[in-house]
């Protein structure tokens, strides 16, 4: 028997949860199925590397919505439901248990999974993506143990801060010349390198691993880093297998969506970490891994499915919490040719770096500077070139720039 739904949402993360509720908010009257393969209702992922291990945060409190919110909106929710086949011609999804469901419209919100560390036979490798991952990690950490984190991206660095707080000895290995190299500009990398070292985390950059042993990692330069716990945060791979099966257009290793968050199949939309798109603001192909992108794309897809034409043109933004530092990022800094600093990034713990390209403000990295973040968010969206003297001058009133 094949079930029938007006709209099926595949995935159970940020994008799926937002899309499901938004469909109703936008007046979609058809039946809705949201099916994800994790055992839990959609939950907040960012706390997994921030507060969830170190503070008194329960799995329940991470839920994006309580089950009654979905019930109230008449949304059928299935957990532990893994879609294994997608036939776009007949509009049928097949789940791992053999159940088949036909859709009017489909939203792919399958997210991404951690890139796996190869050649790690001897020490269990932990990843940080799901609640189950954290439960696994929780079982092996204890004060005094030595944690080795491979990958100096946001998740690795947040985990470093969290484990340090829990009393572990922490070493971060980064293959590139600086931490955060893939995602941010040099001033921020330098800042976080200093902070982590001041907090007692060892950071080794430009190193590669020769072999992993049961008691640590041997580096290519001959050094040995002992470890009891091994964590890898070396990026993610979009979950695109279903989209490939359906023959959808791919770009940058992800499902390509147009400005309406629609894929190359008119009945299939996609949102979140599994997508790539052309950014009208930056005029280039873009792939983001952020809650903002997941939520906003989900909103656009849902609106269009409900018949309200909506276009995705939201400025990307992101945050990261490490120690007492809240980093807020607006825009994308790649391609900048000038940086203007407000505050002291060399010795302080609070500053903002404004990035310009050909005179135009394109991004800001704000550490413990919410005012600068929100101001820049507006200025970047408005495509203006604010007065650099005011940005630089700590005594100047930022409101003058509005």
């Amino acid at each position: 028997m094949t079930e029938n739904f007006g709209c099926i949402i595949l995935g159970g993360g940020h994008a799926a949860a937002e899309a499901a509720l938004c469909l109703r908010k936008e007046g979609f009257e058809g039946s809705i199925l949201m099916a994800g393969d994790e055992p839990s209702l959609p939950y907040q992922r960012p706390p997994l590397s921030k507060t969830y291990l170190a503070e008194d945060v329960t799995a329940d409190s991470l839920l994006i919505r309580e089950s009654q919110a979905y019930v109230g909106a008449n949304i059928t929710v299935r957990v532990n439901a893994r879609a294994v086949k997608l036939d776009a011609a007949s509009r049928v999804v097949t789940f791992a248990d053999g159940v088949q469901a036909q859709y009017g419209k489909l939203i792919l919100a399958t997210g991404a999974r951690p890139r796996k560390l190869v050649g790690a036979g001897h020490l269990k490798v932990h990843y940080i993506r799901t609640l189950a991952d954290i439960d696994g990690l929780r079982a092996v950490i204890a004060p005094g143990k030595r944690a080795l984190i491979i990958g100096g991206g946001y998740i690795g660095l947040e985990a470093a801060a969290m484990l340090k707080k829990l009393g572990l000895h922490v070493t971060v290995l980064e293959a590139m010349e600086r931490i955060l190299q893939r995602v941010t500009a040099a001033p921020l990398s330098e800042f976080y390198t200093r902070i982590h070292r001041e907090e007692g985390v060892e950071i080794l950059t430009g190193v590669s691993i020769k072999s992993l042993r049961a008691d640590g990692a041997e580096l290519a330069d001959g050094r040995f880093v002992p470890a009891d716990v091994l964590i890898a945060g070396i990026g993610v791979l979009p979950n695109i297998e279903l989209a490939e099966m359906a023959g959808l257009r791919m770009e940058a290793g992800a499902v390509f969506v147009d400005s309406h968050c629609r894929t190359s199949d008119e009945n299939i939309y996609a949102a979140g970490d599994c997508t790539s798109f052309f950014s009208p603001h930056y005029e280039r192909l873009t792939r983001l891994e952020s809650v903002q992108n997941a939520n906003d794309q989900a909103r656009v897809a849902a609106a269009n499915i409900a018949g309200h034409v909506s276009v995705y043109d939201v400025l990307p933004w992101f945050w990261s919490d490490q120690y007492d530092l809240k980093l807020q990022i607006a825009g994308l800094s790649q391609g900048y040719d000038e940086v203007v600093l407000r505050g002291d990034s060399a010795t302080g713990r609070s500053f903002a770096a404004f990035y310009f390209a050909q005179g135009r403000l394109i991004a800001v990295d704000a550490v413990n500077r919410p005012r600068e973040f929100l101001l820049a968010k507006r200025l970047i969206a408005a495509k203006v070139s604010p007065d650099r003297n005011i940005l630089q001058d700590e005594t100047a009133d930022l409101k003058k720039l509005l």
């Binding site: 960012p46 409190s61 994006i64 919505r65 919110a69 933004w317 945050w319 809240k326 919410p370 005012r371």
Partner: protein
Amino acid sequence: MAKITFIQHNGTSQTVDANPGMSVMEAAVKNAVAGIDADCGGACACATCHVYVEPDWVEKAGKRSDMEADMLDFAYEVRENSRLSCQIKVTEGLDGLTVKVPEKQF
């Protein structure tokens, strides 16, 4: 348990049950109260959980934190009784709390 009422810009209202310890934002989002996007999930990073606390409740809801005050400085249509709802912790003392949801968050 505390009852919290959210009044929308158009006057409709919704009352939800909140457990002490959770934030006013969580109570809203978990129950799908409209107009509270709360994109950062309570990290005080997005300013999309902005509410106006009804005058009688302003004192009981507590003071803005420094970070929150800075965020509100550049939020949309900020008033004296503006708060980021993720920064208001629910207590038994807030049973009956009423807040207004702004027309838009940003």
